[in-house]
Amino acid sequence: MGNPVVQFQIVSAAPEETAGFYASLFGWTVDANNPMGYRQIDTGSKAGIQGGIWPAPPHAPSFVQLFIGVADVKSSVAQAVELGAKVIIPPTVLPEGEEMAVLHDPQGMSFAVWQPA
């Protein structure tokens, strides 16, 4: 199965403006009609990956995260911690059954592990 990058996420201090900017620039469609109110990006292409937009905490800069698909979030988190990663958001089950966790790699870069429902 491997562990593909399944999604990019723009963490933005101004998510609505960010959605408007990329929609205008690239014709991406952004749909937040889901239980998380998550701004899901459809790039309009089957090439590459799809993405989403998440609000940045106050005083945090905007940045991009990659979501890596895994078979088991909890064991991936445990393995990442063994390799020096730090858990930012522990494994969490989302409203539609997917499970995810957010970590910092040993260099402090944020990424997420994601398991489909």
Partner: protein, 212 residues
């Protein structure tokens, strides 16, 4: 003038990922490279001669070159001019003196982040409201529903939810921790701030281990 640096093989300190240094160090490096280059041409060339050329005191110059003292604005302007730097290049070195080093910048960013986290807990009633809703019968795991119940936007709900998760105040299934069931709002806020402090302290220890 930078072409002369080629005579002495030195990495650019600003581009060293392994050991980030203060940007102002580049001026010190520049002086050392210039001095070394002159000594390559004339092995008897002394620090006194170099100081005389730069129209500065040799003891001060020695301290600046060894990194024991920062060059003042006046010294950077004077020495830079003598080294043939353009006004633009001198301006860059002057600006570099005022930029905090990488370690200080990261420490400041951490402090800002944890202070913002604490302020969000103090100022955001939605945290307590979400926790209250999580415990209530009929709770719906739907941020739009939570937003409607709490009277804040979905983004604010999502930020509060992730904060509660980060602080271990709700679990991965969005259930409030059992121990919190009896807390009042004031007690909850006190506990949440204590968790922020604990996380900040852990972060500080980690930062100190990695030296920024």
């Amino acid at each position: 003038m930078w072409g002369k640096c080629g005579a002495i093989s030195r990495p650019n300190p600003c581009e060293s990922a392994a050991a980030p240094v203060r940007l102002g160090e580049v001026f010190r490096q520049r002086l050392n490279v210039e001095f070394a280059t002159r000594r390559q041409t004339n092995p008897r060339y002394s620090l006194r001669a170099f100081a005389a050329f730069l129209q500065t005191d040799h003891s001060t110059l020695s301290k600046v070159m060894q990194g024991n003292r920062r060059a003042t604005v006046k010294q950077i302007r004077g020495m830079g001019k003598k080294l043939g730097m353009s006004p633009e290049e001198i301006a860059v070195h002057l600006a570099a003196e005022h930029v905090p080093d990488a370690s200080t910048a990261r420490r400041q960013a951490r402090l800002r982040r944890w202070t913002a986290e604490a302020l969000a807990v103090v100022g955001g009633a939605e945290h307590w409201e979400i926790l209250r809703l999580c415990r209530a019968p009929g709770f719906r795991k739907d941020c739009r529903w939570i937003a409607a119940q709490t009277g804040v936007g979905v983004d604010q709900v999502n930020l509060a939810l992730t904060r509660l998760l980060r602080l271990g105040l709700i679990d991965g299934r969005w259930h409030a921790q059992t121990a919190l069931a009896e807390l009042t709002e004031a007690e909850f806020r006190k506990l949440a701030l204590a968790r922020v402090r604990q996380k900040a302290a852990e972060d500080h220890i980690e930062f100190a281990k990695t030296k920024g």
